[in-house]
């Protein structure tokens, strides 16, 4: 079976869940070969083997991560030429999509962004995308070159299926064009112990109604009862109450958890764009006219400072 390249999303070797999802999906389509770029491979290798990577192309040259996006696309372009994979799967993160796009141009290949599912129809790969905030579903296929597909996190349940993860060292002589945008400093905002926003099964987000950074403790307490990730509206982020990585919406993250709870969020179109494909949606808002209520499965008109702590306490009691 042909190789399916899977670009590994990781932080210094800590493999993101979306990678395991992509490996799981790749097993349906061919033989998964992971592509690991950067440092920390030793930490990553067991996970990649566990989820079915038959092979792992490992590229550790620091130059590959020292410039914005372009080097990764060059490395993948070289792998496409050498390994002739049947497809390349890339996580649909902001950067993943850019890598995929540049790769498409380098290899004269079509790219499909934000696929929610992928299946083989004969020998053609058909991607499913949910567009316009989930109001339409489209199926599309790449017609030229090697299909390059970016897949949304949380779209395939990851399932283990151990494989050899045979290590293959790879490198690429970077062109000058790949070294134009130099990363001179990397600022990492410390991340707590809560699950990652795009990976979490449950997300609880706070908005302007939360009122202050300190008050977010009310949201966090519920999140910890539910094992949830904490998100925020742009209004809360712009007020400096929560970091921008937590922003849910058009310009923040797109999440699609089993359960999304919006507290003190009005439900502006730009916020909805990031959460309206969630399976179950709950809102607490004191304004009965808030547009978020148009989306919910269950809504409580009330003060979040009463409802949320009571909910938190009730869940604790029932455990």
């Amino acid at each position: 079976m042909a190789e399916i390249l899977v670009l590994v999303d990781h932080a210094d070797g800590a493999v993101k869940k979306v990678t395991l999802e992509l490996l799981t999906k790749a097993r349906e389509l061919g033989t998964p070969a992971a592509v690991f770029i950067g440092s920390g491979y030793d930490e990553a290798k067991d996970k990649l083997a566990e989820y079915g990577a038959a092979k792992v192309y490992v590229a550790q040259d620091p130059e590959l991560t020292g410039y914005v996006v372009a080097p990764k696309a060059e490395l993948l372009a070289k792998l496409i030429a050498e390994a002739q994979p049947a497809a390349v799967l890339v996580p649909a993160t902001a950067e993943g999509k850019e890598v995929a796009g540049r790769l498409a141009i380098k290899t004269d290949s079509g790219v499909i962004t934000d696929a929610g599912d992928l299946r083989l129809d004969g020998d053609r790969l058909v991607a499913e995308q949910s567009i316009f905030g989930g109001s339409s579903i489209v199926h599309s296929a790449v017609t030229t070159g090697t299909p390059i597909i970016t897949m949304r996190p949380n779209s395939t349940p990851p399932a283990a299926a151990p494989a050899a993860a045979e290590r293959v060292e790879v490198s690429v002589e970077l062109s000058d064009a790949a070294k134009l945008a130099k990363v001179v400093n990397r600022v990492v905002v410390p991340k707590g112990d809560r699950p990652e926003l795009t990976e979490a099964a449950v997300v609880i987000s706070g908005g302007r109604g939360v009122g202050s950074a300190e008050n977010f403790s009310v949201i966090e307490a519920l999140a910890d009862q539910l094992g949830a990730a904490v998100g925020a509206s742009r209004a809360a982020v712009d007020s400096g109450w929560y970091p921008h990585q937590s922003q849910v919406g058009q310009t923040g993250k797109t999440v699609s958890p089993q359960l999304y709870i919006a507290a003190g969020i009005s439900g502006a179109i730009q916020h909805r764009a990031g959460m309206q494909t969630s399976k179950t949606i709950v809102a607490v808002n004191k304004d009965p006219e808030a547009p978020i209520f148009e989306l919910v499965d269950y809504g409580v008109v009330g003060d979040l400072f009463k409802v949320i702590p009571q909910l938190t306490e009730e869940i604790a009691k029932r455990k």
């Binding site: 696309a73 790219v111 989930g134 489209v138 199926h139 945008a181 909910l311 938190t312 029932r318």
Partner: protein, 259 residues
């Protein structure tokens, strides 16, 4: 400094968007068009940089005939002139085709900086800025929450999943901006009046040396096979908290097995 800012006209974000059942592309005829919101931040950044460093700002827009609101808004905000690329052959272009067409238009212009919004609210691929950088062989400075130009070099904060990267490059460069970067100005009455007299150059594909085999639905390297409208979410239960709203919510979550 010569700055080109690229804007897109999109369906109103509040309007129901749908795909045209015949062409399987965004039905742009059925809804009002306006400038993609994020592009206003790009226009604002261009204007601020031009105000600070001196220079001229040109807006470039590609779109169907008559889709003039987006670049007009940019002119009203203070951009000096507009280039409007319109040709029936461009209809249905995907991100790859669009980036090619825009790169060709940029080939007819002089610039030190190209600025875009980081995402259009209709297609939401967010990749056109990166594709342009690839095609033009220029530094990719995307998802910028801060831009500083110093002579011939530029430094940005690139918003990332983990925080941000500080990225440096030489000019010319391609920048895309996020909405954290500034507060777009409203056009003044004077700006609106002045915009009417600003030069607008309309180009068709041939005038921009665009090979029409590489754009539009025919030039696309991917194809939409079918589209279906999903049934609307069924209406949920809304309750008013009378003192036990949290407990009732816990009951609801229990029925869904979250508790």
């Amino acid at each position: 400094m010569k700055i080109v800012v690229l804007v897109k006209q999109v369906p109103d974000t509040w309007a129901e968007k749908r795909l045209d059942p015949d062409t399987l592309t965004v039905d742009r005829a059925s809804v009002d068009g306006l400038i993609n919101e994020m592009d206003e931040f790009a226009v604002e950044e261009a204007l601020q940089l031009a105000e600070k460093h001196g220079g001229e700002v040109t807006v470039v827009c590609m779109g169907p005939e008559g889709a003039t609101d987006a670049y007009k808004k940019a002119l009203q905000m203070g951009v000096d002139k507009a280039v409007f690329l319109t040709d029936p052959a461009l209809a249905g272009s995907d991100a790859v085709g669009t980036s090619y067409a825009l790169a060709q238009v940029l080939g007819t212009l002089e610039y030190d900086l190209v600025i875009l919004g980081s995402e259009a609210s209709d297609a939401r691929t967010s990749i056109v800025p990166a594709l342009l950088a690839e095609r033009l062989g220029l530094p990719q400075l995307t998802f910028a929450s801060k831009v500083e130009v110093d002579g011939t070099s530029i430094k940005i904060n690139r918003q990332t999943d983990y925080g941000h990267d500080v990225v440096e490059a030489g000019l010319p460069a391609v920048v895309s901006v996020v909405e954290k970067i500034n507060e777009p100005r409203y056009p003044s009455f004077k700006g609106i009046m002045a915009a009417k007299k600003k030069p607008v150059q309309t180009l068709d594909a041939a005038a921009a040396a665009i090979d029409t085999a590489r754009v539009g639905a025919v030039g696309s390297w991917s194809k939409v096979l079918d589209a279906t409208v999903t049934p609307p979410r069924s209406k949920g239960t809304i309750v008013t908290d009378e003192g036990s709203g949290g407990v009732e919510l816990a009951d609801f979550l229990a029925t869904k097995k979250f508790v």
